[in-house]
């Protein structure tokens, strides 16, 4: 029974990982850039929500309505000022530039807020600890369920946006081949900036849930980046629904690992990531094959 509970909690935890991985995966899929400041930006958003709640009494969900657009602007600026320039400098420059940026963000947050851990939990009432009991041993946290629901809605929303809207199609075309997209009148510069803005808006959402479900400190970004990265690689980098699968695999591995050893939570997650990498060595990209098979099946 305890086993079943851990798996269930792991699946729900996967919802959060899908949320944090979504922006990273989206940016990688569209621009081919892995943003190493991703985790730090999520923590930055969490701090912004914390300041709004603590100083001005703005409830975090309401605050998100302000912070998500603000982060989208940050994304726009990030693309225009840093990523666009660094991509021209070759493959190494974006990695180095965004890593430098993450160091700046982390330490400025430390300078401003100190080493104390913060949480948005106290500002969302009983949501942070309330749960529905299924049996004596199994309970579903309301916040965890909400996180999962938001992850599904967000991933689904982006999918519909990419498939149904003109801008969405332009983003897909740019991801596929920016030069050819340019030939048919797509402004790749503008499209990439829009994609970065969307990615960072999702980072704001992830930051909100990061703050509500646990505590965070100025240097929490590195761990968030690693979890996001693991989820997106396990799910197949650049694939949206893959990040949900990857997040769930990561969450389940971690919560089962936690049963074995206090450090097992992290160890099992990292192992799951390496095992998937290793499996790809021998069996090819399984996720890719499943997707191709599914797509083929649908066509017939």
């Amino acid at each position: 029974m305890i086993f079943l509970n851990q798996i269930l909690q792991g699946v729900l935890l996967g919802g959060y990982y899908a949320l944090i991985a979504c922006g990273l995966s989206f940016m990688f899929g569209v621009m081919g850039v892995i943003n190493l400041a991703h985790g730090s930006l999520a923590v930055l958003a969490a701090y912004a929500l914390y300041v709004l709640a603590d100083r001005f009494g703005v409830q975090p969900f309401l605050g998100l309505a302000m912070i998500a657009p603000a982060m989208a602007l940050v994304g726009w600026a990030l693309q225009r000022l840093v990523l666009e320039r660094s991509v021209r400098g070759g493959l190494l420059a974006p990695v180095l530039a965004t890593f430098g940026l993450s160091i700046i963000i982390d330490n400025l947050l430390f300078q401003r807020f100190g080493a104390d851990t913060r949480s948005l939990g106290p500002y969302v009432g009983d949501l942070s600890y309330d749960s529905w009991s299924l049996t004596d041993e199994i309970a579903i946290g309301k916040l965890a369920a909400l996180t999962m629901a938001v992850a599904i809605v967000l991933l689904g929303g982006i999918q519909i946006f990419l498939n149904r809207t003109l801008t969405g199609r332009a983003i897909r075309a740019t991801a596929e081949d920016p030069d050819t997209a340019g030939l048919v009148g797509v402004n790749a510069r503008r499209i990439n900036a829009i994609a970065a803005a969307i990615a960072l808006a999702t980072v704001a959402v992830a930051g909100a849930f990061l703050g509500m479900r646990a505590t965070f400190d100025p240097y929490a970004g590195a761990t968030q980046l690693i979890f996001a990265f693991e989820a997106s690689v396990i799910g197949g980098a650049g694939s949206l629904w893959g990040t949900l699968v990857g997040g769930i695999v990561l969450g389940v591995a971690q919560s089962l690992g936690a049963l074995v050893n206090p450090q097992g939570f992290f160890i099992a997650g990292h192992f799951a990531f390496l095992v998937v990498l290793f499996a790809r060595l021998f069996f090819g990209d399984l996720g890719q094959r499943i997707r191709t098979a599914l797509a083929g099946g649908r066509r017939r």
């Binding site: 190494l92 990695v95 530039a97 890593f99 430098g100 160091i103 700046i104 693991e230 992290f266 990498l277």
Partner: protein
């Protein structure tokens, strides 16, 4: 053009002087503990370790095009291996080198998996490896979790002789690794790995054994970082997993290689000296110092990707420790003219 009008040049007069000067400097440094104050000896030991770190990261990134954010994995494992071996009764100073060798050997199979990843994926993938290594080391009861442990075996030495021995080990490690990397880069492997960095597919198509060359550099870089970590433990005396497995080490490596000049041999040394000076002047500023390091890395990555030494190379024909090939084209009457001759193996970033 008549035969013999053009010649490939590998040494220049300045570079012969530079090599001779380097040999003299190392010889003088070897007498360091007898000449310098205890404080200066400690400082120089630190500088030697920084040079090893910069050299190794530069070899990995600047020459092979493999950005890793996880080199702290090897730095920490090297330190841990030294502690572990010393605890098992291996003599302290040999254990520093033996531990690094073991970590280097372990990195070989790891390279087979990790080198499947490209670009940013490789970068963070290595970070995951570092986190995993950190957690696994914490499982060893000897380390006592994040509390850490002192290298008590070092207490067997008087502080003066310990300082001198650690200094000599660091100097020998630095000089040895500099010589190995210089030799490798001048040899056929050097041409191969720079070809890989510039265009992997093209390199493969002209017969470069891409996978083997990358693996060799990866393993060498792991060994070097592990040796640096072991030497760091010998100077710091204590091992706390969190401090050794911190990505800050990689941030330092990036800073040194990037500011000095990615992909230039001299740049790694210059970068380590610059970083050493900056740390001495601004290290006490704490958080703002780190913000400054991050900002400098960002600015260099965006605007000066070739660093200081790259700037020097672009504007002058100065090559102190040449690893490339230069074509000197003589005029028909035989007079040499080729300072600006076409140059091969020039280290362009991407």
């Amino acid at each position: 053009m008549s035969p013999g009008a053009a010649a490939v040049e590998r040494w220049t007069p300045e570079s012969r002087v530079a090599i001779a000067a380097a040999a003299v400097i190392v010889a003088v440094l070897a007498a360091g503990p007898a000449i310098f104050s205890a404080n200066a000896v400690d400082k120089l030991t630190t500088l030697f370790i920084y040079i090893i770190l910069a050299l190794m990261w530069n070899a990995l990134v600047g020459f092979c095009g493999l950005v890793s954010i996880g080199q702290q994995a090897f730095f920490g494992l090297g330190a841990y291996a030294a502690i572990r071996l010393a605890n098992w009764g291996v003599s302290v100073y040999p254990s520093l080198f033996l531990g690094a060798l073991i970590v280097g050997a372990l990195s070989w199979p790891l390279s087979i998996v990790m080198l499947r990843l490209k670009g940013g994926e490789f970068a963070i993938g290595m970070w995951v490896v570092a986190e995993l290594a950190h957690m696994l080391v914490n499982l060893d009861t000897l380390v006592r979790g994040e509390t850490g442990i002192s290298m008590i075996e070092l207490d067997a030495y008087a502080s003066g002789s310990r300082r001198a021995l650690t200094y000599w080990c660091a100097l020998a490690a630095m000089a040895g690794l500099l010589a190995v990397v210089f030799g490798l880069l001048r040899g056929p492997l050097g041409a191969a790995i720079r070809a890989i960095r510039d265009n992997e597919e093209a390199a493969e198509s002209v017969g470069v054994r891409v996978a083997g060359a990358k693996r060799l550099v990866f393993t060498l870089a792991a060994f070097g970082a592990a040796l640096a970590g072991a030497l760091w433990v010998a100077t710091a005396l204590t091992f706390q997993p969190k401090a050794y497995f911190s990505p800050l080490w990689t941030a330092y490596m990036i800073f040194m290689a990037l500011v000095g000049g990615l992909g230039t041999f001299e740049g790694a040394i210059l970068g380590a000296v610059i970083f050493f000076a900056i740390e001495a002047w601004f290290g006490a500023m704490g958080v703002w110092y780190l913000v400054g390091l991050g900002a400098t890395a960002l600015v260099f990555a965006l605007f000066f990707p070739r660093g200081f030494w790259g700037w020097v190379e672009d504007r002058t024909s100065l090559r102190l420790l040449p690893i490339g090939y230069r074509l000197r084209i003589a005029k028909l009457n035989g007079a040499a003219h080729g300072a600006d001759g076409a140059e091969y193996g020039r280290d362009n970033m991407g």
